[in-house]
Symmetry: C2
């Protein structure tokens, strides 16, 4: 077990104190082979602003140094595991894969005084790393943070800051809930202008409400360089009103709809004609070109069936395919997309409504309406990502303050106590639980400050749930480590909620 004074979050799998300490100095080089140049540069960029030390990157060094080492012997720690050893002579971060080195550098940052996170030189700090040996690897491979930028737009700068914070917490999936399909077809935008009338007076601004494709590429690459996969979500067949408003022929009726100006579920969903599938596949072509992620999130949630029940075309499609009900029609729609994605080497993931009417063969389920969807999918041999409303929906209140008009509360303690593997699963089934993620639905997060207030430190707690071995979970010890960690977040100008003691 770690000594509490280390204050690492997430806590590493195995920590062994060692005598001595490493003193970072102006002369300290970073030793790394050419293959690790990018990782070494990232480490230098993280340590140089506050220390002011040049941290020259060299392939061979003598004397005290920070060393980055690729070591195939550490393959037993997996693709993301690493070993960090610190003594008076050196800090060595070793891993079988670059992803492990990135996580090791985040541990190194947290081993230094919190002032390391400042963006200009802080004089008179002893930049000392305690003597230590850490062997560390994540418990789950999907450690995610979902962010909805459709309800309230979040500027690129905010997204990049969020990605930096995910990296600090060894979270590795950024589930970017972009928006309905329709928005992709206009002006190369990948998220729509805000629908908030109150924000429209800012409309002279060219980017208050959308990212260009180049912006998306920038964010995706920025995240990738930090070990984070960006999983895009493009919703279908429900939550499609924006697309249908722009292209009425994508709907089930001839009616012309207005884009919805209130939160919630629309009755108006995609039709099931070939024209719709062609449209969706064209959109997905663009998505695949922008996002290298193996997983593509197609939404699939909250798709009312009334229009399909009343549509002659939908009913004819059901008859043609021999489908018994509209749930099976939805399943057919999702299976078409699942197959299309699989042919292109990708995997479909969707909210647990995609279970209705039969799960598409390659689909992974994101379980949000409690754990049942995840349990059913895992028992059926499908991979699942746990995202249950309780306690991973961070739009819910975190205290009795009742600032959010959403029923229920997910406290920091709830999140820290959360166990992603439901007890209903046996060991073989449990392997299908890839991990979990925290959800930031932004209906009631009008700006970045509010988003951060809802995200942190609940995401800090979740990062430990997802990274650290279950047996290291200790709420009192976490609370103690959190004090120092909040100082890091404060220096990083994160508008976090301060839990009451």
């Amino acid at each position: 077990m770690s000594t509490p004074t280390l204050s690492l979050i997430p806590i590493p799998a195995r920590v062994t104190p060692r005598p001595g300490a490493f003193a970072l100095a102006a002369s300290t080089p970073i030793e790394a082979p050419d293959a690790l140049r990018a990782q070494a540069e990232l480490l230098r960029d993280q340590l140089r602003p506050a220390t002011g030390f040049p941290l020259r990157i060299v392939t061979n060094a003598s004397g005290p140094r920070i060393a980055l080492v690729l070591d195939e012997a550490l393959a037993r720690l997996g693709d993301e595991g690493y070993r960090l050893t610190a003594s008076a002579d050196a800090v060595a971060i070793a891993a079988a894969r670059p992803a492990g080195l990135l996580h090791g550098t985040q541990t190194l940052r947290q081993l230094l005084p919190p002032a390391i996170f400042r963006r200009a030189v802080v004089p008179n700090v002893a930049w000392s790393v305690p003597g230590i040996e850490i062997e560390d690897a994540p418990r789950f491979s999907w450690r995610g943070s979902h962010l909805d930028v459709g309800r309230h737009f979040m500027p690129k700068t905010t997204v990049i800051k969020h990605i930096d914070l995910l990296a600090l917490h060894k979270l590795n999936v950024f589930h970017w809930h972009l928006t309905e399909v329709g928005a992709w077809r206009k002006d190369s935008m990948v998220a729509p202008r805000t629908r908030e009338a109150s924000q429209r007076k800012f409309s002279g601004s060219p980017h208050a409400g959308f990212y260009t494709q180049d912006d998306v590429r920038e964010v995706v690459r920025y995240a990738m360089d930090r070990g984070i996969t960006v999983v895009p979500e493009i919703e279908m067949p429900g939550h499609a009103l924006a697309a249908i408003a722009a292209y009425p022929e994508l709907g089930n009726t001839k009616a012309q709809h207005e884009v919805q100006t209130y939160w919630g579920i629309s009755e108006h969903v995609f039709g099931v004609g070939d024209n719709v599938l062609t449209f969706v596949e064209n959109v997905l072509d663009e998505v695949l070109a922008l996002f290298p992620s193996k997983f593509i999130h197609i939404g699939g949630d909250e798709c009312p069936k009334r229009e399909w029940k009343e549509s002659p075309a939908a009913q004819a499609r059901m008859k043609e395919l021999g489908l018994r009900d509209e749930e099976e029609l939805q399943s057919w729609f999702v299976t078409r997309i699942d197959t299309w994605l699989a042919k292109r080497g990708r995997r479909l993931i969707g909210w647990d409504e995609i279970l209705e009417g039969g799960l598409a063969p390659g689909a992974t389920v994101m379980s949000w309406r409690g754990e049942n969807g995840g349990i059913a999918a895992a028992k059926a041999g499908h991979d699942v990502v746990m995202a249950p409303e309780k306690p991973t929906y961070f739009d819910h209140d975190q205290s009795e303050d009742q600032v959010v008009p959403i029923r229920g509360m997910n406290t920091l303690a709830d999140v820290y106590a959360y166990e992603p593997v439901p007890k209903e699963l046996n060991a073989a089934e449990a392997k299908h639980v890839l991990g979990a993620q925290g959800q930031l639905w932004t209906e009631y997060m009008p700006d970045p400050q509010r988003m951060e207030y809802m995200a942190w430190p609940r995401l800090s707690a979740l990062s430990e749930v997802l990274w650290s071995p279950r047996e290291t979970r200790d709420a009192a010890n976490f609370a103690q480590r959190l004090e120092t960690h909040l100082e890091r977040l404060r220096i990083l100008d994160v508008n976090f909620y301060r839990p009451r003691r």
Copy 2:
């Protein structure tokens, strides 16, 4: 004259096209003597994210390179002037002082494609610098941006982004309008929690509304490293209600006041007893420790005299000092502070109300109520900084949109046409005009997005007014260059106002 395709803002004093072009490549080193290591690192940090090139810093290089050179022969260009030459062999930035090199690197960034401003690698871009020789130096030494964080608090991240943008525009003064004196005495805060009741529901957050002293140090150092001086403003003897509310003995009556919850001028001002001066000097001791700036802004504006007229203590003080009226009493107060600052090697600057009752001997005047204050001060041999409401108050509307409840409009064209040297001044008097600055009073800028919308591109226009020779001013040419410049700002995620054509 520059060719319009260069799109440099501010436009350099002298541009000579040269044959050829420099192609930045993965092998390009930055050559710089050890004394310029910090400047070379900053340049590398600016060019590496988008190119992905390592840009090794070396003291000797052969072959194509970027070279930073200190050259005393360029002292004729002043402390901030530089020469940039680009050919197929090298880009050389030379200056007599490091400040000049910093400005030269900003020019280099603007000579590269706008994608250079992205924060992750952009593939398939030709990172080419056109063949060119530039000799450049600023017209004015005070090229400022004022930001009020008292009316609406702006997070540290926003302030740092703003400083990056000032550096890009070769602006060199950040006038940080912190708040009233009183806030300095509580909990080591240097700006108060917001007084906005509507924001108080965020009060679980530890820093939604203040900077710690370490935050201030970080911002000051960050700015300094980029050639920008942070001038703090601490208001006295008016705009002091927050202090008086906390410490009634600093006022003129025994009344207990509440902190003001509405914008505007309070009747309640500092008393003139020794206890007040001691208090103010103690606060200024802390200010000087945090801010190395030669100039310290003490406000001095909008100080109603009613309380002094009615206060026996103030009237006794006037009699004791042989002062004729309350304006002279204010002048005595400011002179005391002026003397106190001068003894410590600093200089007092204040809004033009400090002219009333006689200007303190060492005082510099910031002329905001039109130009008359500046003209009077310059004619009296005092230095002045021009900050007239028209057109440098950027809280005023910039178009007919009328989004701000403030009378009058300051358009981009108004700002670009502004001439900081009033025609009433002869050549000798004109030398007292140090420069000018744009004001961001935040009564009606509730968040960073709105602040940026009001600041840009008006600050871009002002940067050219203040840097470039008067004879290069050409509105049509500026409008043309602005198109490319707005693309830079868009990539930098600045929420600028797009002027109509």
